[in-house]
C-alpha cells in the first residue's frame, strides 16, 4: 500500500518539477539573488 502511495507522490512532484522547468522557472538562476534587493516602487534617485 505504501509503495503505490510513495510512487504516486513521487510522480506528482516530478510533474510539478517538469511544469516549472517548462515554464521557465530555471531559465535564470542568477537573477533572483539580485532582484530581491531591488524595491520596485522606490524613487530611483535616493542618494
Amino acid at each position: 500500500m505504501m509503495i503505490p502511495i510513495s510512487l504516486i507522490l513521487g510522480v506528482i512532484v516530478l510533474v510539478i518539477f517538469l511544469w516549472a522547468s517548462k515554464s521557465g522557472e530555471f531559465e535564470d538562476i542568477e537573477g533572483p539573488k539580485y532582484r530581491m534587493l531591488d524595491d520596485d516602487d522606490e524613487d530611483y534617485d535616493d542618494d
Binding site: S6, L7, G10, F17, L18, F26, D28, E30, G31, D47
Partner: protein, 817 residues
Amino acid sequence: MTTTKTMTTTNVVACKHCLLETNKNQAIIESVNGEECSFCCPGCASVYKILQEEGFSKFYSKRDDNWEPGAVSPSNVSEELFVDSVTETDTGYEVSIALSGIRCAACIWLIETYLSKAEGIESIRVNYATHKAKISWTKGVINLREIIDRISSIGYCPLPISDSDTATIYEKEKKDYFFRFSIGAFFSMQLMIYTVALYAGYFQGIDTGLRTMFQYAAWLLSTPVMFYSGMPFIKSSFQALRRGHTTMDTLIFMGSFTAYVYSVFALFLDKDVYFDTTSMIITLILLGRYIESSAKARTSNAVSKLLTYQPSQVKFLENFYLETYTSGELSSTTVPVKQIRPGDYLEVMPGDSIPADGIVIYGSSEVNESMLTVESLPQIKDIDGKVFAGTGNINGKLVIMVENIGSTTTLSRIVRAVEDAQASKAPIQNIADMVVGYFVPTIIAIGFSTFIGWYYLTHELLTSTMNAVSVLVIACPCALGLATPLAILIATSKITKLGVVAKAGDIIEILSKAETFIFDKTGTITKGELKVEEIITSGYDKETLLKYTASIERNSSHLIAKAITDTYLEDFMTVDDFKEHPGKGLSGSINGQEIIAGTLSYLKEKGVETPDELVTEHIKNGYTAACIAIDNKFAGFITLSDSIRDDAREMLLALAKRNVTAVILTGDNRLAAEKLIERLDVPNLEYIAEVTPFEKADVVRSYQQNGKRCAMVGDGINDAPALTTADVGIAIGQGTDIAIESSDIVLMRDELKLVETVFDTSVTTLKVIKQNLFWAFSYNFVMIPLAVTGTIHPVFSAAFMSVSSLLVVFNSLRISR
C-alpha cells in the same frame, strides 16, 4: 560613488561613467549638474548625462567592486535586424533580443528600470545568465525603433538572436541534458529506497512477496532512466556501431543496458536484480554532460560573429564626384549595409569601423588594423590606400570606394578559414575511447565463449544465457564507466573556479599531451599597448626633454603620443602654434622655442641633422622611436615598445621546466624578435619571425606534421585559424569573439599564468585517469573469471562493485586539491 580607484599618478583620472583611467589632458571634461566630471569618451559622457537627468544615478552606487572599467561603444543598430523576432500579443508586440555590454547586475537593473520608465513598455525582463531580454510593448504608444534607441542611449548594444547561432544550439543542448539528468536523478533517488531495502532484505531476510514487489517497483523506476535519460547514449552507440566504432558511449550503453536486461530476466527467474547499476551509471554521466554543455553555452556569444565588427548601417554617397563632395554639395545618406555593392562610395567618420574592403578616394586617417594584421600601431591611410572591413578608423574622415563587401572581405575570409579548419580537424582519440576500442570486443568475445562453454557442458539454454549476460554486467562496471568522465568532470569544475572554461571535457586530456606551446606575440605575450622604454638625449637632461615632448604630445590622440604623455607626471607647459602632421609628427612652440616631435624622416625633411645610425639601430631592435628637435637641433629620441605582460616570463619558465617547447610567433623582423627573446630570458624559447597573419595556421600545421601535439595561445581575429588548427586552442578572454569561438579553452581572466595552471591540471588529470583505469581493470581481472565460471555471488559482486567505484571517486577527487 562607492568605488574610487586610487590615483597613482597626478595626470590620470577615472572616467566618471566607466571608471576607465584616462590621461587627464585627453579626458573630456564637462560639467553635469554643476559638478565637473571627466570622461574617457563622448559615449560615456552622454550616458552619464542621461542617467543624471533621468534620475538613475543610483546605478553608480549599485554596481559592485567587480565592475570592469571599459568605455561605452556607440552602437547604431538597424531595427530591421529584429523584425523577424517580433511576435504579436493581445495588446501589442513582444521581442526577444540579446544585449551586449552588460557587465554586472547593476547594468541589468538599469536596463530594466530605464526601459520600463518609458511609456508604452508593458514588461521587460533581462536574463542574468544569458543577457537576453524579453520586451513587450503596447501598440501605437512606442515602437521598436524607439526601444532600440533607448537601449543604445544608455550604452548597451541590442542584437538579434538567431536560431542557427552556436550559442542557441548549445543552450538547447544544455536544456536537453538538464531534463534528462533531472528525470534520471529523480527516478534514481526513488529507486535507491527499494534497492537499499532489497540489500537489507538479503542479509536480514525478507518476505518473498515484498521482495518481488520491491523488485517490480525498481523495474518500473529504472525504465524511464534507461530509455529516456539514457537515449543520447543509445543513439550515439548505434551511430558509432554503424561506422564500426566503439566509443565511451558504447560502454555506458552496454553496461547499463545489459544490467537492465539481466535484471528483467532475473526478476522472472526469482534472482537478484541490478536496476540500480543501470540508473546510477546513466545519471552520473549525464551530470557530467550537463556541466560540459553549460560551459560551452557560456563561452559562445549570442552575437553573430561578423555583426560585431561590421556596422549594419553606412554613410552612402550617391553620384559621387570629388568636386561636389569637397564643395559640400553632396552629403551622405544613411543606408543599410546590405544595399551596398562594389563600386559604391562610402563616407567613414572618425571612430567608426570600416564597413567594407576598399580604396581610399579622399582624406587621410590612421586606421587600427590590429585585429587583422600583426601590427599593433595604427596604419596611415592616404589616397589610394587599401582599407579592410572590420578595422577601426581613428582620427580622420575618409571616403572609400567599395571593392569587396559581405562574404568576400578579408574579415569574412578569416572566418571561413576558421570554419574550414574546424571541418578538417582530425579528432584525437582520447584514452577512454582507445581502451574501449579493445575492451568492448574482448568482453563480447568472452561473453560469447562463456555461453558456448556452458551450453557445451550443461546443454541448458537458460543457465548459459544468464551466465553469459552476467559476464557482460560484471565486466562493464561503474568503475570503468566512471574512470574518465568523473576525473574530467572534477578537473573541469576545478579550472572553472580558477576562471578557465574548457569547452569539451576531453580537451583537458588532449592538453596534457601537448609538446609544443605556440604563443602569438602581440596581445598574448605582450600587452598590445605601447610603453616608453628609454629616453636618449643629446644636449638636454632627460626630465627636460620629457617635459617638452609630453607637453606637445598631450595635444595629440595618437597612440605614441598617449604613451609618452602617460609617462610624464608633472605639470605641462603651454604650447603655442600646435600642428599635427598625420603620419609624420607634431610641431609647436614652447616659450618661443620651436619643437618638432616625430619620425626620423620627418625631422630630416625639416632639415634637422640626425644621428641616423643610432636611431635606426633601435628601430631595427623592434622599438618605435619618437625623435625630438628643439629649434631645429636634434635633442634626442624616446623609444617605445609593446610591453611584455608581467606574468609572461614566469609562465614561460614554468613551461620550460615541464619539458615542453614554447614558440613565439611574431610579425616583427628577426632582430626585433631576438631582442624580445633576450628580454624574456627563458631557456629553450623558440621564435618564428616575420609571420603574416595567414601563415600562423601553417606554422601550427608544420609542427603537427612533425608529429608534435600543439597548443596555440592567442587573442586576435588573425589567430583564429591557428587556434582552430592546433590540437588545443587557448584564447585569452579579453580577446576577440572569433578567437574565443575558435578555441577549445578560454581564459576568462586576463592572466597568462592560467596557461600553466590548466596545463598542470590536465597532466594530473591524465595521471588520475590512468590510475582509475588500472583499478577498474584490476576489478575485471578478478571478477571476470568468477563470472565465467558462474561461481560469483551476487552480493559479493555488488559490494566489490561499490568499493571499486568509490575508489575511483576518491581518486578523482584528488584532482580538485
